[in-house]
Amino acid sequence: MENKAFFFKRLEKYGGRTALITAQEKPVTYRELTERADRLAQEIGRRCLVFLACRNAEESVIGYAACLRNDIVPVMVSADIDAELLKNLLERYHPAFLWAPEDNGAFPGEEVYRDQHYVLRKTGLKEDYSLSGDLALLLTTSGSTGSPKLVRQTRKNIQSNTDAIIEYLNIQPEDRAITTLPMNYTYGLSILNTHLCTGARIILTDATLLEKSFWTLFRNQGATTFGGVPYTYEILKKLRFGRMQLTSLRYITQAGGKLSKELAEEFNAVCEEKGIQLIVMYGQTEATARMSWLPWKDAKRKAGSIGIAIPGGRFSLIAGSGNELLGPDEVGELVYFGDNVTPGYAESRLDLAKPDENRGELHTGDMAKRDEDGFYYIVGRKKRFLKLFGSRVNLDETENLLKKEGIENVCAGRDDRMVVFLTDPEKETAAAEFLTNRTGISRGGFVIRHIDEIPRSESGKVLYSALEID
Protein backbone atom coordinates (compact mmCIF):
# COMPACT_ATOMS: atom_id res chain seq x y z
CA MET A 1 0.00 0.00 0.00
CA GLU A 2 1.13 3.52 -0.83
CA ASN A 3 2.01 5.46 2.28
CA LYS A 4 0.16 8.44 0.88
CA ALA A 5 -3.08 6.52 1.17
CA PHE A 6 -2.67 5.68 4.87
CA PHE A 7 -5.47 7.53 6.62
CA PHE A 8 -3.36 8.78 9.51
CA LYS A 9 -1.37 10.87 7.04
CA ARG A 10 -4.53 12.55 5.81
CA LEU A 11 -6.14 13.46 9.12
CA GLU A 12 -5.40 17.19 8.76
CA LYS A 13 -8.03 17.34 6.01
CA TYR A 14 -10.70 17.29 8.74
CA GLY A 15 -9.32 20.64 9.97
CA GLY A 16 -11.59 22.34 12.46
CA ARG A 17 -13.83 19.33 13.07
CA THR A 18 -13.69 17.98 16.61
CA ALA A 19 -11.58 14.84 16.89
CA LEU A 20 -11.48 14.33 20.64
CA ILE A 21 -13.48 15.31 23.69
CA THR A 22 -11.49 14.97 26.88
CA ALA A 23 -12.85 13.72 30.19
CA GLN A 24 -12.94 17.41 31.23
CA GLU A 25 -15.18 18.01 28.18
CA LYS A 26 -12.57 20.01 26.28
CA PRO A 27 -12.70 19.59 22.49
CA VAL A 28 -9.55 18.94 20.44
CA THR A 29 -9.88 19.58 16.70
CA TYR A 30 -8.26 17.48 14.00
CA ARG A 31 -6.02 20.44 13.20
CA GLU A 32 -4.80 20.68 16.81
CA LEU A 33 -4.40 16.90 17.04
CA THR A 34 -2.25 16.66 13.91
CA GLU A 35 -0.18 19.74 14.77
CA ARG A 36 0.63 18.56 18.28
CA ALA A 37 1.28 15.05 16.95
CA ASP A 38 3.70 16.30 14.33
CA ARG A 39 5.54 18.48 16.84
CA LEU A 40 6.10 15.45 19.04
CA ALA A 41 7.20 13.42 16.01
CA GLN A 42 9.71 16.14 15.15
CA GLU A 43 11.28 15.72 18.59
CA ILE A 44 11.53 11.99 18.02
CA GLY A 45 13.01 12.86 14.66
CA ARG A 46 13.29 9.53 12.85
CA ARG A 47 11.77 6.07 12.36
CA CYS A 48 12.42 4.19 15.61
CA LEU A 49 10.71 2.22 18.36
CA VAL A 50 8.71 4.13 21.01
CA PHE A 51 6.85 2.77 24.02
CA LEU A 52 3.49 4.48 24.24
CA ALA A 53 1.91 4.40 27.71
CA CYS A 54 -1.79 4.42 26.89
CA ARG A 55 -4.62 6.12 28.70
CA ASN A 56 -7.88 7.30 27.27
CA ALA A 57 -6.48 10.83 27.26
CA GLU A 58 -5.62 13.40 24.57
CA GLU A 59 -1.82 13.14 25.05
CA SER A 60 -2.01 9.41 24.51
CA VAL A 61 -3.92 9.80 21.22
CA ILE A 62 -1.50 12.56 20.18
CA GLY A 63 1.41 10.18 20.79
CA TYR A 64 -0.31 7.50 18.75
CA ALA A 65 -1.05 9.87 15.86
CA ALA A 66 2.52 11.20 16.03
CA CYS A 67 3.83 7.69 15.42
CA LEU A 68 1.39 6.55 12.75
CA ARG A 69 1.59 9.80 10.77
CA ASN A 70 5.38 9.72 10.73
CA ASP A 71 6.38 6.05 10.34
CA ILE A 72 7.48 5.79 13.98
CA VAL A 73 6.66 2.40 15.50
CA PRO A 74 4.83 2.44 18.85
CA VAL A 75 4.58 -0.42 21.32
CA MET A 76 1.16 0.09 22.87
CA VAL A 77 1.26 -0.60 26.60
CA SER A 78 -1.02 0.39 29.45
CA ALA A 79 0.00 3.49 31.41
CA ASP A 80 -0.70 1.32 34.46
CA ILE A 81 1.63 -1.42 33.26
CA ASP A 82 3.11 -3.67 35.92
CA ALA A 83 6.65 -2.46 36.71
CA GLU A 84 8.20 -5.93 36.27
CA LEU A 85 6.59 -6.43 32.87
CA LEU A 86 7.71 -2.98 31.75
CA LYS A 87 11.28 -3.77 32.81
CA ASN A 88 11.13 -7.03 30.92
CA LEU A 89 9.78 -5.30 27.80
CA LEU A 90 12.45 -2.59 27.94
CA GLU A 91 15.19 -5.20 28.16
CA ARG A 92 13.77 -7.18 25.27
CA TYR A 93 12.88 -4.38 22.87
CA HIS A 94 15.25 -1.47 23.58
CA PRO A 95 12.92 1.36 22.53
CA ALA A 96 14.58 4.68 21.68
CA PHE A 97 11.90 6.75 23.43
CA LEU A 98 9.04 6.48 25.91
CA TRP A 99 5.88 8.62 25.76
CA ALA A 100 4.29 8.38 29.18
CA PRO A 101 2.41 10.33 31.87
CA GLU A 102 4.70 12.61 33.87
CA ASP A 103 3.58 11.09 37.15
CA ASN A 104 4.60 7.54 36.26
CA GLY A 105 8.12 7.03 37.57
CA ALA A 106 8.28 3.47 36.22
CA PHE A 107 9.15 4.86 32.77
CA PRO A 108 12.85 5.73 32.93
CA GLY A 109 15.00 8.03 30.80
CA GLU A 110 15.94 11.64 30.20
CA GLU A 111 13.06 14.04 29.61
CA VAL A 112 13.42 15.73 26.22
CA TYR A 113 9.94 17.10 25.45
CA ARG A 114 6.54 17.46 27.01
CA ASP A 115 2.94 18.10 25.99
CA GLN A 116 0.69 18.80 28.96
CA HIS A 117 0.85 15.81 31.31
CA TYR A 118 2.90 13.51 29.09
CA VAL A 119 6.66 13.54 28.73
CA LEU A 120 8.96 12.16 26.06
CA ARG A 121 11.91 10.33 27.56
CA LYS A 122 15.02 9.23 25.72
CA THR A 123 16.11 5.82 26.94
CA GLY A 124 19.69 5.66 25.65
CA LEU A 125 19.20 1.93 25.08
CA LYS A 126 21.30 0.46 22.30
CA GLU A 127 19.42 0.22 18.99
CA ASP A 128 21.05 -3.00 17.87
CA TYR A 129 18.13 -4.10 15.68
CA SER A 130 16.16 -2.98 12.64
CA LEU A 131 12.48 -2.48 11.85
CA SER A 132 10.82 -4.19 8.93
CA GLY A 133 9.74 -1.63 6.33
CA ASP A 134 5.98 -2.02 6.65
CA LEU A 135 5.84 -2.42 10.46
CA ALA A 136 3.36 0.10 11.88
CA LEU A 137 2.77 -0.83 15.52
CA LEU A 138 3.08 -3.53 18.16
CA LEU A 139 0.44 -4.71 20.60
CA THR A 140 0.47 -7.19 23.43
CA THR A 141 -1.76 -10.20 22.78
CA SER A 142 -5.39 -9.67 23.77
CA GLY A 143 -4.68 -6.75 26.03
CA SER A 144 -3.54 -8.99 28.85
CA THR A 145 -0.56 -7.75 30.77
CA GLY A 146 1.24 -10.96 31.50
CA SER A 147 3.30 -11.65 28.38
CA PRO A 148 6.13 -9.79 26.64
CA LYS A 149 5.03 -11.39 23.35
CA LEU A 150 3.87 -8.78 20.84
CA VAL A 151 1.77 -8.88 17.69
CA ARG A 152 3.26 -7.06 14.71
CA GLN A 153 0.81 -4.97 12.68
CA THR A 154 1.44 -3.26 9.35
CA ARG A 155 -0.02 -0.11 7.77
CA LYS A 156 -1.80 -2.36 5.28
CA ASN A 157 -3.32 -4.38 8.16
CA ILE A 158 -4.61 -1.27 9.88
CA GLN A 159 -5.89 0.42 6.75
CA SER A 160 -7.75 -2.65 5.47
CA ASN A 161 -9.34 -3.51 8.81
CA THR A 162 -10.32 0.11 9.40
CA ASP A 163 -11.94 0.34 5.95
CA ALA A 164 -13.84 -2.92 6.47
CA ILE A 165 -15.17 -1.92 9.90
CA ILE A 166 -16.28 1.53 8.70
CA GLU A 167 -18.12 -0.16 5.84
CA TYR A 168 -20.05 -2.76 7.81
CA LEU A 169 -20.80 -0.55 10.83
CA ASN A 170 -21.64 2.33 8.48
CA ILE A 171 -19.65 4.76 10.65
CA GLN A 172 -20.59 8.38 9.91
CA PRO A 173 -18.73 11.68 10.45
CA GLU A 174 -21.48 12.64 12.93
CA ASP A 175 -20.78 9.62 15.14
CA ARG A 176 -19.46 10.09 18.66
CA ALA A 177 -17.85 7.02 20.21
CA ILE A 178 -17.23 6.99 23.95
CA THR A 179 -14.31 4.90 25.20
CA THR A 180 -15.05 1.86 27.34
CA LEU A 181 -11.86 -0.04 26.52
CA PRO A 182 -8.17 0.86 26.74
CA MET A 183 -6.44 1.94 23.51
CA ASN A 184 -3.61 -0.54 24.05
CA TYR A 185 -6.24 -3.25 23.52
CA THR A 186 -6.92 -3.99 19.86
CA TYR A 187 -10.70 -3.61 20.14
CA GLY A 188 -10.39 -0.21 21.82
CA LEU A 189 -7.79 0.84 19.26
CA SER A 190 -10.00 -0.19 16.33
CA ILE A 191 -12.79 2.06 17.62
CA LEU A 192 -10.30 4.94 17.76
CA ASN A 193 -8.93 4.17 14.28
CA THR A 194 -12.30 3.90 12.57
CA HIS A 195 -13.63 7.13 14.04
CA LEU A 196 -10.47 9.11 13.23
CA CYS A 197 -10.49 7.77 9.68
CA THR A 198 -14.08 8.95 9.24
CA GLY A 199 -13.54 12.40 10.76
CA ALA A 200 -15.86 11.44 13.61
CA ARG A 201 -15.46 12.21 17.31
CA ILE A 202 -14.07 10.17 20.20
CA ILE A 203 -15.08 10.96 23.75
CA LEU A 204 -12.15 9.99 25.98
CA THR A 205 -12.52 8.69 29.50
CA ASP A 206 -10.87 6.16 31.75
CA ALA A 207 -13.95 6.03 33.94
CA THR A 208 -15.72 2.68 34.02
CA LEU A 209 -19.40 2.07 33.40
CA LEU A 210 -19.77 1.90 37.16
CA GLU A 211 -18.84 5.53 37.66
CA LYS A 212 -21.25 8.42 37.54
CA SER A 213 -18.71 10.55 35.63
CA PHE A 214 -18.91 8.10 32.71
CA TRP A 215 -22.66 8.50 32.30
CA THR A 216 -22.51 12.26 32.86
CA LEU A 217 -19.96 12.58 30.06
CA PHE A 218 -22.00 10.18 27.93
CA ARG A 219 -25.14 12.30 28.22
CA ASN A 220 -23.47 15.73 28.01
CA GLN A 221 -21.57 14.78 24.89
CA GLY A 222 -24.32 12.76 23.22
CA ALA A 223 -22.40 9.52 22.66
CA THR A 224 -23.79 7.52 19.76
CA THR A 225 -21.88 4.27 20.22
CA PHE A 226 -19.56 2.23 22.42
CA GLY A 227 -18.06 -1.24 22.45
CA GLY A 228 -18.07 -3.88 25.13
CA VAL A 229 -16.60 -7.25 25.98
CA PRO A 230 -18.97 -9.89 27.42
CA TYR A 231 -18.25 -8.70 30.93
CA THR A 232 -19.31 -5.16 29.95
CA TYR A 233 -22.68 -6.65 29.02
CA GLU A 234 -22.96 -8.40 32.35
CA ILE A 235 -22.42 -5.03 34.01
CA LEU A 236 -24.94 -3.35 31.70
CA LYS A 237 -27.47 -6.02 32.56
CA LYS A 238 -26.90 -5.41 36.24
CA LEU A 239 -27.30 -1.67 35.68
CA ARG A 240 -30.70 -2.42 34.06
CA PHE A 241 -29.54 -1.06 30.71
CA GLY A 242 -33.08 -1.44 29.40
CA ARG A 243 -34.32 1.22 31.77
CA MET A 244 -31.54 3.75 31.19
CA GLN A 245 -32.40 6.90 29.21
CA LEU A 246 -29.69 7.15 26.54
CA THR A 247 -31.38 9.03 23.73
CA SER A 248 -28.25 9.73 21.65
CA LEU A 249 -27.20 6.08 21.42
CA ARG A 250 -27.41 4.65 17.87
CA TYR A 251 -25.69 1.28 18.17
CA ILE A 252 -23.41 -0.76 20.43
CA THR A 253 -20.87 -3.42 19.52
CA GLN A 254 -19.67 -6.54 21.30
CA ALA A 255 -16.44 -8.47 20.88
CA GLY A 256 -13.56 -9.80 22.95
CA GLY A 257 -15.11 -13.15 23.74
CA LYS A 258 -18.33 -15.00 23.26
CA LEU A 259 -21.49 -13.44 24.58
CA SER A 260 -23.62 -16.23 26.03
CA LYS A 261 -26.72 -17.00 24.01
CA GLU A 262 -28.93 -15.95 26.91
CA LEU A 263 -27.23 -12.57 27.23
CA ALA A 264 -27.29 -12.09 23.44
CA GLU A 265 -31.02 -12.80 23.32
CA GLU A 266 -31.72 -10.53 26.24
CA PHE A 267 -29.76 -7.63 24.73
CA ASN A 268 -31.27 -8.21 21.30
CA ALA A 269 -34.70 -7.72 22.84
CA VAL A 270 -33.67 -4.73 24.94
CA CYS A 271 -31.95 -3.01 22.00
CA GLU A 272 -34.89 -3.60 19.71
CA GLU A 273 -37.14 -1.98 22.26
CA LYS A 274 -34.79 0.98 22.63
CA GLY A 275 -34.44 1.36 18.88
CA ILE A 276 -30.69 0.80 18.85
CA GLN A 277 -28.61 -1.90 17.19
CA LEU A 278 -26.35 -4.47 18.82
CA ILE A 279 -23.58 -5.67 16.53
CA VAL A 280 -21.82 -8.82 17.71
CA MET A 281 -18.33 -9.19 16.25
CA TYR A 282 -15.38 -11.54 16.45
CA GLY A 283 -11.68 -10.92 16.11
CA GLN A 284 -8.17 -11.23 17.44
CA THR A 285 -5.13 -8.99 17.75
CA GLU A 286 -3.51 -11.37 15.23
CA ALA A 287 -6.13 -10.22 12.69
CA THR A 288 -5.52 -6.53 13.54
CA ALA A 289 -8.91 -6.42 15.25
CA ARG A 290 -12.00 -7.76 13.49
CA MET A 291 -12.75 -10.86 11.41
CA SER A 292 -16.54 -11.17 11.52
CA TRP A 293 -19.74 -9.33 12.32
CA LEU A 294 -23.37 -10.28 12.81
CA PRO A 295 -25.69 -7.90 10.93
CA TRP A 296 -28.47 -6.52 13.13
CA LYS A 297 -31.15 -7.81 10.76
CA ASP A 298 -29.93 -11.33 11.53
CA ALA A 299 -29.26 -10.84 15.24
CA LYS A 300 -32.43 -12.48 16.49
CA ARG A 301 -32.54 -15.59 14.33
CA LYS A 302 -28.76 -16.09 14.64
CA ALA A 303 -28.28 -15.28 18.35
CA GLY A 304 -25.07 -16.86 19.60
CA SER A 305 -23.41 -16.61 16.16
CA ILE A 306 -20.32 -14.53 15.36
CA GLY A 307 -21.92 -13.84 11.99
CA ILE A 308 -20.12 -13.64 8.68
CA ALA A 309 -16.64 -12.59 7.55
CA ILE A 310 -16.01 -8.83 7.31
CA PRO A 311 -15.82 -7.20 3.84
CA GLY A 312 -12.67 -8.39 2.08
CA GLY A 313 -12.22 -11.38 4.42
CA ARG A 314 -13.08 -15.07 4.18
CA PHE A 315 -13.40 -18.00 6.60
CA SER A 316 -12.81 -21.69 6.18
CA LEU A 317 -13.11 -24.61 8.61
CA ILE A 318 -10.34 -27.17 8.80
CA ALA A 319 -10.68 -30.69 10.20
CA GLY A 320 -7.99 -32.32 12.30
CA SER A 321 -6.89 -34.15 9.14
CA GLY A 322 -6.20 -30.81 7.43
CA ASN A 323 -9.15 -31.14 5.04
CA GLU A 324 -11.56 -28.28 4.56
CA LEU A 325 -15.02 -28.95 6.01
CA LEU A 326 -17.78 -27.93 3.63
CA GLY A 327 -20.95 -29.33 5.17
CA PRO A 328 -23.18 -27.49 7.61
CA ASP A 329 -22.64 -27.91 11.39
CA GLU A 330 -19.31 -29.71 11.08
CA VAL A 331 -16.85 -28.53 13.74
CA GLY A 332 -13.31 -27.62 12.76
CA GLU A 333 -10.65 -25.01 13.40
CA LEU A 334 -11.65 -21.59 12.14
CA VAL A 335 -9.18 -20.23 9.59
CA TYR A 336 -9.38 -16.66 8.32
CA PHE A 337 -8.00 -15.09 5.13
CA GLY A 338 -7.63 -11.35 4.55
CA ASP A 339 -5.37 -8.31 4.35
CA ASN A 340 -5.83 -7.72 8.07
CA VAL A 341 -3.98 -10.93 9.01
CA THR A 342 -0.87 -9.67 10.76
CA PRO A 343 2.62 -10.83 9.72
CA GLY A 344 3.31 -12.61 13.03
CA TYR A 345 4.65 -12.21 16.56
CA ALA A 346 7.74 -10.68 18.06
CA GLU A 347 9.37 -12.06 21.18
CA SER A 348 12.37 -9.76 21.13
CA ARG A 349 13.77 -6.79 19.18
CA LEU A 350 15.45 -9.13 16.73
CA ASP A 351 12.01 -10.24 15.52
CA LEU A 352 11.11 -6.69 14.47
CA ALA A 353 12.87 -7.18 11.12
CA LYS A 354 10.94 -10.37 10.36
CA PRO A 355 8.96 -10.64 7.12
CA ASP A 356 5.32 -11.68 6.74
CA GLU A 357 5.10 -15.18 8.19
CA ASN A 358 1.34 -15.65 7.83
CA ARG A 359 0.74 -14.47 4.25
CA GLY A 360 -2.84 -13.50 4.88
CA GLU A 361 -3.87 -16.80 6.52
CA LEU A 362 -4.66 -17.01 10.23
CA HIS A 363 -5.34 -20.23 12.15
CA THR A 364 -7.44 -18.80 14.94
CA GLY A 365 -7.18 -21.66 17.44
CA ASP A 366 -10.97 -21.41 17.82
CA MET A 367 -13.21 -24.34 17.01
CA ALA A 368 -16.26 -23.34 15.01
CA LYS A 369 -19.12 -24.55 12.85
CA ARG A 370 -21.07 -22.96 10.01
CA ASP A 371 -24.83 -23.28 9.63
CA GLU A 372 -26.61 -23.84 6.33
CA ASP A 373 -27.04 -20.08 5.83
CA GLY A 374 -23.30 -19.50 6.14
CA PHE A 375 -23.25 -18.05 9.67
CA TYR A 376 -20.40 -19.07 11.95
CA TYR A 377 -20.54 -20.19 15.58
CA ILE A 378 -17.61 -20.54 17.95
CA VAL A 379 -18.01 -23.73 19.95
CA GLY A 380 -14.77 -23.63 21.91
CA ARG A 381 -11.07 -23.13 21.72
CA LYS A 382 -8.78 -25.67 20.22
CA LYS A 383 -6.65 -25.85 23.33
CA ARG A 384 -9.45 -25.74 25.86
CA PHE A 385 -10.14 -29.45 25.69
CA LEU A 386 -8.79 -32.07 27.98
CA LYS A 387 -9.21 -35.79 28.32
CA LEU A 388 -10.48 -37.26 31.54
CA PHE A 389 -9.85 -40.96 31.58
CA GLY A 390 -10.09 -41.14 27.82
CA SER A 391 -13.13 -38.97 27.26
CA ARG A 392 -12.86 -35.55 25.75
CA VAL A 393 -14.09 -32.74 28.02
CA ASN A 394 -14.72 -29.27 26.69
CA LEU A 395 -13.75 -26.83 29.44
CA ASP A 396 -15.79 -23.95 28.01
CA GLU A 397 -18.90 -26.08 27.81
CA THR A 398 -18.41 -27.32 31.36
CA GLU A 399 -18.00 -23.75 32.58
CA ASN A 400 -21.19 -22.71 30.83
CA LEU A 401 -23.14 -25.68 32.20
CA LEU A 402 -22.13 -24.80 35.76
CA LYS A 403 -22.91 -21.13 35.14
CA LYS A 404 -26.42 -22.05 34.08
CA GLU A 405 -26.80 -23.76 37.46
CA GLY A 406 -25.98 -20.43 39.04
CA ILE A 407 -22.46 -21.48 39.99
CA GLU A 408 -19.82 -18.83 39.22
CA ASN A 409 -16.77 -20.79 38.06
CA VAL A 410 -13.86 -21.26 35.72
CA CYS A 411 -12.56 -24.64 34.59
CA ALA A 412 -8.96 -25.36 33.71
CA GLY A 413 -6.50 -28.20 34.15
CA ARG A 414 -4.74 -30.90 32.18
CA ASP A 415 -5.51 -34.46 31.15
CA ASP A 416 -6.98 -36.52 33.99
CA ARG A 417 -7.11 -33.49 36.24
CA MET A 418 -9.72 -30.87 35.69
CA VAL A 419 -9.70 -28.04 38.22
CA VAL A 420 -12.95 -26.25 38.88
CA PHE A 421 -12.43 -22.85 40.52
CA LEU A 422 -15.36 -21.53 42.51
CA THR A 423 -15.77 -18.09 44.00
CA ASP A 424 -18.42 -19.26 46.44
CA PRO A 425 -17.21 -22.00 48.83
CA GLU A 426 -20.80 -22.88 49.68
CA LYS A 427 -21.42 -24.08 46.15
CA GLU A 428 -18.85 -26.89 46.34
CA THR A 429 -21.30 -29.72 46.97
CA ALA A 430 -23.72 -28.47 44.34
CA ALA A 431 -20.94 -28.18 41.76
CA ALA A 432 -19.54 -31.64 42.52
CA GLU A 433 -22.97 -33.24 42.39
CA PHE A 434 -23.89 -31.50 39.18
CA LEU A 435 -20.69 -32.53 37.44
CA THR A 436 -20.84 -36.17 38.48
CA ASN A 437 -24.57 -36.64 38.05
CA ARG A 438 -25.34 -34.48 35.07
CA THR A 439 -22.23 -34.53 32.91
CA GLY A 440 -20.96 -37.97 33.85
CA ILE A 441 -17.51 -36.66 34.67
CA SER A 442 -15.98 -38.92 37.28
CA ARG A 443 -15.57 -37.44 40.74
CA GLY A 444 -11.94 -38.50 40.65
CA GLY A 445 -11.42 -36.56 37.43
CA PHE A 446 -11.68 -33.13 38.96
CA VAL A 447 -10.79 -31.16 42.04
CA ILE A 448 -12.55 -28.08 43.32
CA ARG A 449 -10.63 -25.03 44.42
CA HIS A 450 -11.75 -21.75 45.90
CA ILE A 451 -10.59 -18.41 44.64
CA ASP A 452 -11.58 -14.97 45.85
CA GLU A 453 -12.24 -13.71 42.38
CA ILE A 454 -11.83 -14.84 38.82
CA PRO A 455 -8.62 -13.34 37.41
CA ARG A 456 -9.37 -11.17 34.41
CA SER A 457 -7.37 -9.10 31.95
CA GLU A 458 -8.04 -5.39 31.50
CA SER A 459 -10.52 -6.32 28.84
CA GLY A 460 -12.38 -8.68 31.15
CA LYS A 461 -11.22 -11.94 29.60
CA VAL A 462 -10.50 -14.78 32.02
CA LEU A 463 -6.75 -15.11 32.58
CA TYR A 464 -6.44 -18.89 32.64
CA SER A 465 -2.67 -18.58 32.92
CA ALA A 466 -3.08 -16.97 36.34
CA LEU A 467 -4.85 -20.03 37.75
CA GLU A 468 -2.91 -22.53 39.82
CA ILE A 469 -3.75 -25.99 38.50
CA ASP A 470 -1.18 -28.15 40.29
Binding site: L210, I235, K238, L239, M244, D452, E453, R456
Partner: protein, 78 residues
Protein backbone atom coordinates in the same frame (compact mmCIF):
# COMPACT_ATOMS: atom_id res chain seq x y z
CA UNK B 1 -26.78 -12.32 62.37
CA UNK B 2 -27.76 -8.65 62.66
CA UNK B 3 -28.17 -6.52 59.57
CA UNK B 4 -24.97 -4.66 60.44
CA UNK B 5 -23.09 -7.95 60.60
CA UNK B 6 -24.56 -9.02 57.27
CA UNK B 7 -23.61 -5.67 55.76
CA UNK B 8 -20.03 -5.95 56.98
CA UNK B 9 -19.73 -9.52 55.85
CA UNK B 10 -20.75 -8.62 52.29
CA UNK B 11 -17.65 -6.39 52.19
CA UNK B 12 -15.22 -8.61 54.09
CA UNK B 13 -16.06 -11.78 52.18
CA UNK B 14 -16.26 -10.10 48.76
CA UNK B 15 -12.95 -8.31 49.12
CA UNK B 16 -11.16 -10.71 51.48
CA UNK B 17 -10.42 -7.99 54.05
CA UNK B 18 -10.85 -7.58 57.79
CA UNK B 19 -13.51 -5.46 59.53
CA UNK B 20 -10.87 -2.98 60.62
CA UNK B 21 -10.43 -1.94 56.97
CA UNK B 22 -14.09 -1.03 56.44
CA UNK B 23 -14.49 2.40 57.99
CA UNK B 24 -12.89 4.46 55.18
CA UNK B 25 -13.22 1.92 52.38
CA UNK B 26 -13.95 3.38 48.93
CA UNK B 27 -14.44 2.16 45.36
CA UNK B 28 -11.01 1.59 43.77
CA UNK B 29 -9.40 2.30 47.14
CA UNK B 30 -8.14 -1.30 47.22
CA UNK B 31 -7.25 -3.62 44.34
CA UNK B 32 -10.12 -5.99 45.12
CA UNK B 33 -12.77 -3.27 44.83
CA UNK B 34 -12.51 -2.76 41.07
CA UNK B 35 -15.37 -3.03 38.60
CA UNK B 36 -15.44 -6.82 38.92
CA UNK B 37 -15.38 -6.59 42.72
CA UNK B 38 -18.10 -3.97 42.63
CA UNK B 39 -20.49 -6.26 40.79
CA UNK B 40 -19.73 -9.01 43.30
CA UNK B 41 -20.39 -6.65 46.18
CA UNK B 42 -23.71 -5.55 44.71
CA UNK B 43 -24.70 -9.19 44.23
CA UNK B 44 -23.66 -10.02 47.81
CA UNK B 45 -25.67 -7.12 49.27
CA UNK B 46 -28.71 -7.90 47.15
CA UNK B 47 -28.62 -11.49 48.28
CA UNK B 48 -28.00 -10.71 51.94
CA UNK B 49 -30.97 -8.34 52.20
CA UNK B 50 -33.15 -9.73 49.43
CA UNK B 51 -33.32 -6.40 47.61
CA UNK B 52 -32.67 -5.15 44.08
CA UNK B 53 -30.71 -1.93 43.67
CA UNK B 54 -31.68 0.78 41.18
CA UNK B 55 -29.18 1.65 38.44
CA UNK B 56 -28.24 4.97 40.04
CA UNK B 57 -27.67 3.34 43.39
CA UNK B 58 -25.39 0.67 41.94
CA UNK B 59 -23.25 3.49 40.55
CA UNK B 60 -23.55 5.71 43.63
CA UNK B 61 -22.58 3.02 46.12
CA UNK B 62 -18.93 4.01 46.02
CA UNK B 63 -17.96 3.67 49.67
CA UNK B 64 -18.70 1.63 52.75
CA UNK B 65 -20.33 4.66 54.38
CA UNK B 66 -22.50 5.60 51.40
CA UNK B 67 -23.83 2.06 51.24
CA UNK B 68 -25.04 2.26 54.83
CA UNK B 69 -27.24 5.27 54.11
CA UNK B 70 -28.44 3.78 50.86
CA UNK B 71 -29.85 0.67 52.49
CA UNK B 72 -32.34 2.78 54.42
CA UNK B 73 -33.99 3.51 51.06
CA UNK B 74 -34.58 -0.22 50.66
CA UNK B 75 -36.07 -0.44 54.13
CA UNK B 76 -33.08 -2.19 55.61
CA UNK B 77 -32.27 -0.91 59.07
CA UNK B 78 -28.69 -1.30 60.14
Amino acid sequence: MTNMEKYNEAFTSTFGIGEDALENLEYQGIAAWDSVGHMQLIAALEEAFDIMFDTDDIIDLNSYQVGKQMLAKYEVEL
